[in-house]
């Protein structure tokens, strides 16, 4: 079965074509490259720009897969959560396509999509397992009881983990987005140079705002010269602390719920320091850890199509009157 996935919930305009929910035939995220070949506009902000970019992106996803519109058998689209204006572009486009091609429409939750990035990468693994979604907008620890059934254990109370990376990047005067820049700079620093506090938020919730403020206070005490010298150490120490927060809570949850398997996804799951640390702890503590392929960590439509395929198999087809839901969760 050939399924088209569409994702426009935040910054990225993305489309992908999958065969049987497993095989990625194409995976397109709007970029400068597509701009020159297919038109559209360079997006600045999760916005109406999606309108101008959705057709070039879908066209390229079909071209890359060597297919045409008439080959499509279903359309999966992100329907929640996200910015209403952004979600609406993808959803309205998917509805029109579903109506004109007379093929089923499947509504997908963006967060469940991130979980499916792991199912897509590791088709062999089976729930129950723990899930950790870490991105610019989300930091959620959950139990994946089965495909389609999730229980939230904890979430960030203030800044998302990826957001903290970006904001600390900003404090260190690195370029945007800060996450990959901090990762690069951290390679040159000592992760044990500065003991930033790990904090103590109850249960399985997270807080990254305090860590960001600790970095700020630390920087304020330094002269410009010291700042330059310490930058790499700050990046490495901050990164280590943020990773420790995520790993500690994950292990605590795995022990309490006696589920010694965890699937990490979202943009921050591309961070090598996080990956290495999880693999190291997994060996020591005796659990299994899974990460998606790096190209489907950040927002993409392949994960949406993979998730949509499972919904389709369960008969979960959306009506053409389905609405975009900015805040709906899967828990």
């Amino acid at each position: 079965m050939i399924i088209l996935g569409i994702e426009t919930s935040c910054d990225e305009t993305a489309a992908a074509v999958l065969r049987d929910g497993k095989e990625i035939l194409s995976n397109v995220v709007y970029s400068q490259d597509i701009h020159s070949q297919y038109g559209g506009v360079v997006p600045e902000l999760a916005s109406r720009d999606h309108i101008k970019n959705i057709i070039p992106v879908v066209r390229k996803s079909l071209d890359d897969a060597d297919l045409s519109l008439s080959d499509l058998e279903a359309i999966a689209v992100t329907q929640s959560p996200g910015l209403i204006g952004s979600l609406l572009v993808g959803l309205s486009f998917a509805k029109s396509l579903s109506f004109s091609l007379d093929i089923p429409l499947i509504a997908v939750n963006h967060l469940e999509g991130h979980i499916y990035a792991n199912f897509l990468t590791h088709p062999e693994f089976n729930p129950p397992l723990l899930g950790l979604i870490v991105s610019g907008g989300h930091t959620d620890l959950l139990i994946i009881e089965e495909r389609g059934k999730y229980q939230l254990l904890g979430s960030t109370l203030d800044d998302a983990c990826g957001e903290a990376f970006d904001k600390v990047g900003n404090l260190l005067e690195l370029s945007y987005p800060g996450g990959p820049e901090i990762e690069k700079l951290a390679l040159k620093g000592n992760p044990n140079a500065i003991p930033f506090p790990v904090g103590s938020v109850k249960e399985y919730d997270f807080s990254f705002s305090g860590l960001k403020t600790s970095v700020l206070y630390y920087l304020r005490k330094l002269t410009e010269e010291e700042k330059e010298k310490q930058k790499a150490n700050i990046a490495a120490s901050f990164q280590k602390t943020a990773v420790t927060m995520l790993v500690k809570k994950s292990i605590k949850a795995m022990r309490e719920f006696k589920i010694m398997k965890i699937a990490v996804s979202g943009g921050v799951a591309a961070n090598e320091c996080l990956r290495e640390r999880f693999f190291r702890e997994a060996k020591k503590e005796g659990f299994e850890v899974y990460f998606p392929h790096k190209i489907i960590c950040t927002d993409n439509a392949a994960m949406i199509a993979a998730c949509g395929y499972d919904h389709y198999k369960r008969g979960d087809i959306a009506s053409l009157s389905v609405k975009a839901e900015p805040t709906e969760t899967i828990y």
Partner: protein, 148 residues
């Protein structure tokens, strides 16, 4: 009228926000100014608490907008990632400013002349670790009072 408040902890900032909530009415717009870590989101947590919203109030820096429902609808914007003010119009965000609800704008300085004229202004400054100075004013002759 301009009022200055001092907060010695995140807890005190939240309490100030709760009190400020009592001043706010349907249709109000509040612009927040202050550097990273100055406590804008913390103060907004307090405002939401004042409206009975205790859960799910967090930074919208990446998602731009979070919407909370109580007796009013609270639109919590964050323009941290805005590069040019025109993006605001392009994204259709300005439409929310004329909605029936209360609009809270973090990084309001990024909006320039697109900011609605009648608004509360909240300027937050870091005085030392944990200590913040919070200055609240209204751009028009609006009667309001707070003890702090």
């Amino acid at each position: 009228m301009k009022k200055k408040f001092h907060s010695k902890s995140a807890k005190e900032t939240i309490e100030l926000g709760e009190e400020f909530a009592g001043v706010l009415k349907q249709g109000d717009i509040v612009a927040f100014y202050g550097e990273l870590g100055s406590g804008k989101t913390t103060l907004i947590k307090g405002i939401c608490k004042g409206f009975g919203i205790e859960k799910g109030v967090k930074s919208p820096s990446f998602v731009f907008l979070r919407i909370y429902k109580s007796r009013y609808t609270l639109y919590h914007f964050d323009f941290y990632r805005l590069k040019r003010k025109e993006e605001l119009v392009n994204a259709g965000f300005d439409e929310f400013f004329f909605n029936s609800g209360i609009v809270l704008l973090e990084w309001a300085d990024k909006l320039g002349n697109l900011l609605p004229e009648s608004r509360f202004e909240v300027v937050m400054e870091i005085r030392s670790e944990n200590e913040r100075e919070i200055q609240i004013s209204h751009t028009e002759r609006r009667e309001w009072s707070m003890e702090g």
